[in-house]
Symmetry: D2
Subunit: 178 residues, 4 copies
């Protein structure tokens, strides 16, 4: 089983990247082969219908789309911007929706969110479900939300609080066996 | 009274631009001075927290933010992408939310949508309301939705169907007097 | 395979009931045994935490919950009220969420909507997904929307337009084999 | 200025009722006359189109609608059920939307939420905005969310944490002067 991992933030020190690093390290034990893509490494212009008409879907998007199409599941950890999905991540989905067939149509998708706030990024994930499901993705109902994320990680890619470790492991195991 | 007009599409021939052109031509009669900004003319990178930390909010965003702050209302006509807000438009909102004070906080906002489908872009506008209201914008409850937009416009900036003309005029008048 | 069918309207002549009647008649060919429940036949009070504490989950809800738990999938055809889910249907979900385990947790759910408007009931279904998924239901990404529903049905439980017949059959087949 | 206050819970000991009690006690200082309605005191059947056709909008709904129409603003404090609006509260909105003119059309509406969780009831309020705005209500952008509500109140109708007192006062003052 292959999972494609993407943190929906372009920051080097993003807490969502840190969360995904832990995911990446843990899923081997579940028989999963994980490939992680750094969001900022995808060459992605702003979506523009004229650009698409003139030059087609950009190569950077197509490369990512192929990786996604080859994976069994797409795992996204995304920040919440202004109670909603980051524009950048939605822009990626908008481009991917122009690739035919849509590379995540019929694919299992798992959502996580790390957030510095007490609230976690749950509202953002609710907004993120909509376009993913509109394109035919099977977004797993349960979502993993990590609050107070600035204080959540140790320096060597684990959680300060062992409860989060257990919670994440149970979450990943549940998804991998669904 | 000054309104800033933005169509949330970068296409030259966008139906949302055509709709906004009609808005621009009609509001003078309501005593409104309209300024229209072409979305693709705003110099806007993808939002990246590292970029913001290194160089601050980009100049193109700041210029737009100033225009917005100087206006009495913000009028947006936006397409719907995948049942939600275009990533590009959300990216603009994400950048604007980093300008302090947020230039549309406390400001009246009017939403319209033109769509080639029978359904109109209403689901997209519902998603668009969320980040605008999260930042303190007063989004007008009623929204204008134009369906079958490819067949809706004449060549000289009016509607094929006079009912749409009346509907739009009533809508703009209602908003201008609220 | 057993499906539980519920139209989210209490009207006798509800277009959602008519749509469900067609679903009921068609799924036998897919090897599915369908059971239909009339919404108004469920004895359901308004949700009230005090009532629940005093008397537990009402018997009418428990009876429905058992049927639901025994089914392989839950098929709901729901109207849209005020751009959202009918309060009555949400009230049923609120009660069901108090039964442990939640009878639709981990269960496949299919959503349809019939609406007299041109727009269909898609915004309502988007709102309906949220609590169903929050409780762990696997809501199928694709949703069936029937617009102009007052003119859509013949007197003997079929569609006026044969395209709707084909569209529904393909939709049900796709879901039954997923 | 008159405000109509409603807590969207039928529990006697509802934390949303406690929050509204504080609101009621504080707004006099802002020159506001508050009237509070207990949700469970409204005689409200489940919405059913056949019932409406046979007997019209129920008297209990009409009485509430008149109070609402006579108020300058509607203040709602609502729990969140399953990431969304309580079915009971949505059922009230569905009935009110059948009164013509809709009693909260064009009216200012303020939303609050008290929740025992750490997260507050923000997702529920986002879902609540949709039908209120669909019917033409002017829902104030900023919303007041009180988390950990079981530990938030003293026995004599104030907050344990004085920060909440200040936060609420500023919130009410801001709304009363908008």
């Amino acid at each position: 089983m292959k999972w494609l991992l993407l943190a929906g933030s372009m920051r080097k020190e993003s807490v969502n990247k840190k969360l995904m690093k832990i995911v990446e390290n843990r899923v081997g034990a579940l028989g999963v082969q994980a490939e992680s893509v750094a969001f900022e490494s995808i060459e992605m212009p702003l979506y523009n219908g004229d650009l698409e008409e003139a030059k087609g879907v950009p190569e950077g998007i197509q490369t990512f789309a192929k990786k996604l199409a080859a994976a069994d599941a797409w795992v996204i950890s995304s920040p919440e911007y202004n109670f909603s999905v980051p524009g950048t991540l939605k822009n990626l989905i908008d481009w991917l929706s122009r690739v035919k067939p849509v590379p995540f149509k019929g694919k299992k998708i798992l959502l996580l969110s790390a957030s510095p706030s007490l609230v976690g990024g749950n509202r953002g994930l609710l907004a993120l479900r909509v376009p993913l499901e509109a394109c035919g993705g099977f977004v797993y109902p349960t979502m993993f939300s990590l609050s107070s994320a600035y204080e959540a990680f140790t320096e060597n890619n684990s959680f300060v609080d062992p409860k989060n470790e257990k919670r994440l492991e149970a979450f990943l195991k549940e998804f991998s066996s669904c």
